[in-house]
């Protein structure tokens, strides 16, 4: 007979016995975690890093959550938003998972959230930075362990002004993530009194930047703020350096411009400033321990995505301990998750009312092929999320 069927019978049996229903199912069923991450296509590396981080955290807890074995159901989200609802539905309704972890891609997140709303499935977003997830679309059963576009770019607005830049040009891809990111920068920068001369939108996912660089050179701003990611980030930074702009016009960005790309930048990124909630060089015990454990387990250095996965795992460890492994009582589990406080590799981290991390955002500079932390740009930054009602 089917697992779900067994589980419901057991659950009703257990509730009939009144006592320790959590323990009863703990002996029988593993906790089912549905991973809806990209395992093929452009974002594969991110999906894998998150998975590695997540499993590391759970392995460090003896491979158990709240005393129960863990079963992973991996589903390739292939970063295809049009398939997101059906994939999410398959995890929740088909595989009957207890918690869904995903996705990487904001468009996919939208599709998942639609189903999360219908089904009430507990969802932890380990990457996708769309603001709406914890703002307009926030719901009790949805958490995020990563960042929002706003959270990573808002601090840079302050930093840019603080470093004396007054006229700044922003450039990003013409897509939702890019627009949200630049909006965060603009908010802080103009609040302080800076002037955003122009925002240039590049058709997504073009990496042909020459004409834009020419435009930037002719505008002669004090600095350029940019958001590109992946191949686009690499291309932009290299082209920016090759055009000789790096010497005269400092390049600022939100962390994803260079995250995971330092090697591919081939030395071109030296001196680029970015703000982000993590840097691999963070000087803390938690981070050092994490980096060496990750290195040992997976044979490579962790990146931000791995940390986000790791914290997702750590969060589950804490919350499921809190409820003694009982995943049947959703309300209790949600409450436990919302109450999680972590000493993460990225620093202290807890959750806001909208279930978004309250965390430090660091100012980083690329020096000698590493993200060196210059400063904490904003300490324990909380995302306002003022459209969230729950």
């Amino acid at each position: 007979m089917n697992n779900a069927f067994k589980k419901t019978t057991l659950a009703s049996l257990a509730s009939a016995c009144v006592l320790s229903s959590g323990l009863a199912s703990a002996q029988e069923d593993p906790v089912k975690l549905g991973l809806m991450l990209p395992y093929s296509g452009t974002y594969t590396a991110l999906g894998e890093a998150i998975t590695n981080g997540l499993t590391l955290a759970i392995e460090q807890n003896g491979g158990r959550l709240g005393g129960r074995e863990v079963e992973y159901v991996r589903l390739d989200s292939e970063a295809d938003p049009s398939k997101a609802p059906q994939n999410m539905s398959r995890l929740v309704r088909g595989d009957d998972v207890d918690v869904v972890i995903g996705p990487v891609h904001s468009g996919v997140a939208m599709g998942m959230l639609r189903v999360a709303k219908q089904t009430g499935a507990i969802t932890i977003i380990p990457n996708a930075g769309l603001g709406a997830a914890t703002n307009q679309l926030c719901m009790p059963n949805v958490f995020r362990t990563s960042f929002s576009m706003w959270q990573n770019s808002y601090p840079m607005g302050k930093v840019a002004y603080g470093r004396g830049h007054r006229d700044v040009v922003a450039i990003t891809w013409d897509y939702a993530g890019g627009k949200e990111d630049v909006a965060g920068f603009e908010e802080a920068f103009t609040e302080m009194g800076g002037n955003l001369v122009e925002t240039i939108y590049v058709p997504f996912p073009s990496t042909e930047f020459q004409s834009y660089l020419t435009q930037i050179a002719s505008l002669e701003p004090d600095a350029v703020y940019t958001f590109f990611a992946g191949g686009g980030g690499v291309s932009f930074v290299r082209d920016y350096a090759a055009a000789g702009l790096m010497e005269n016009i400092p390049l600022l960005g939100s962390g994803f411009l260079t995250e995971g790309n330092i090697k591919a930048l081939d030395g071109a990124g030296e001196g680029v400033l970015t703000t982000m909630h993590y840097a691999e060089t963070l000087d803390s015990d938690a981070n050092r321990a994490f980096v060496s454990a990750y290195q040992a387990a997976h044979g490579e250095a962790p990146d931000t995505y791995a940390v986000q996965g790791y914290d997702t795992g750590a969060m589950l460890v804490q919350a499921l301990d809190e409820v003694s492994g009982n995943t049947e009582d959703q309300a209790a589990l949600i409450e436990a998750l919302a109450g999680v406080e972590l000493q993460s590799p990225r620093g202290p981290m807890r959750f806001s009312a909208s279930h978004h991390p309250i965390q430090n955002v660091y100012l980083r500079e690329i020096r000698d092929g590493e993200h060196q932390v210059l400063d904490v740009a904003v300490e324990q930054l909380e995302v306002p999320d003022d459209a969230c009602r729950m």
Partner: protein, 286 residues
């Protein structure tokens, strides 16, 4: 818009257009002679870039890497043609579309298995790793000039081959009427294998020389494919001359479109295509 700005943008548009021509030339060649629509064309571009990345890593020399990568690309074209396409010439274009779509899935995933999902890059090779000042605050990579030179030279070679060699006569005849090729007493099978391999190699080569200018990432071939299609449609399918002017037109349109009408930047090439189709349904040079 001052004159210097205009001049630099002209240069940008020309450089982009020339690279586009190199990528699209293989596509239009294959269309023209073989009547085959190859959706996996973008994947070939990606493979060229990855090959040169991999070989540069191993050998430490970009030029050597290109030298070795070209025969590999030709071989790949040969295998694909003999194994899969050989059977499709008689059939409807639908089957070509589907088979090459299947090839995209396979090649993209093979890329991931072999090289992983990370973003890579190739350093600009000596002796072109320098920059020239264009304006007081803008420099231009010498390698970009070199790429332009290579593209122009290849365009010249292709032009010469088509105008002045026996192969060229066959190609021109084939683009007009494929029966005539048989009439000339050509072994069509060998010709097709040759053309397809050369077409694939041209595209892969474009990926190779473009590698130091771009980032090497999964899926990099997908977006270039559609742009190439637009180039070929505008120029006229099978026409090398059309591909050349189509590519220059698109290069200029993207460059100036992004500056002058930023709100339509992503659509400008499609709008041009629609306009061309309205006036000349078979393209400008067909």
């Amino acid at each position: 818009m001052d004159l210097a700005f205009f001049g630099v943008q002209l240069l940008n548009g020309l450089q982009y257009g020339l690279l586009l021509f190199l990528i699209a030339s293989g596509l239009t060649l294959i269309f023209g002679i073989m009547g085959i629509i190859n959706l996996a064309h973008g994947a070939m571009y990606m493979i060229g870039a990855y090959l040169v990345y991999d070989l540069t890593q191993r050998l430490g020399n970009f030029w050597l890497a290109i030298l070795i990568a070209i025969p590999i690309a030709i071989l790949l074209g040969l295998i694909i043609e003999r194994l899969f396409l050989d059977t499709l010439y008689k059939r409807d274009h639908l089957y070509q579309v589907l088979l090459t779509f299947g090839l995209i899935l396979v090649l993209n995933e093979a890329q991931r298995i072999i090289w992983g999902g990370d973003v890579h890059s190739v350093s600009v090779p000596a002796p072109f790793d320098a920059s020239l000042p264009l304006t007081d605050n803008l420099q231009y990579s010498v390698y970009r000039l070199f790429v332009m030179g290579v593209c122009l030279a290849l365009a010249g070679v292709i032009y010469w081959v088509i105008r002045h060699t026996r192969l060229g006569i066959i190609i021109r005849a084939g683009a007009v009427d494929r029966d005539m090729v048989e009439g000339l007493g050509i072994d069509v099978r060998t010709l097709f294998t040759l053309i397809f391999s050369v077409g694939v190699a041209l595209t892969a080569f474009a990926g190779m020389i473009a590698a130091p200018l771009t980032s090497i990432a999964p899926g990099m071939g997908d977006s270039i494919l559609i742009t190439c299609f637009v180039v070929v449609v505008i120029g006229g399918i099978g026409s090398i001359k059309g591909a050349f002017w189509g590519a220059i037109l698109i290069g200029m349109a993207e460059t100036f479109g992004s500056v002058l009408i930023p709100s339509l930047a992503s659509m400008v090439i499609y709008l041009i295509m629609a306009a061309v189709l309205l006036v000349k349904p078979r393209g400008l040079f067909a």
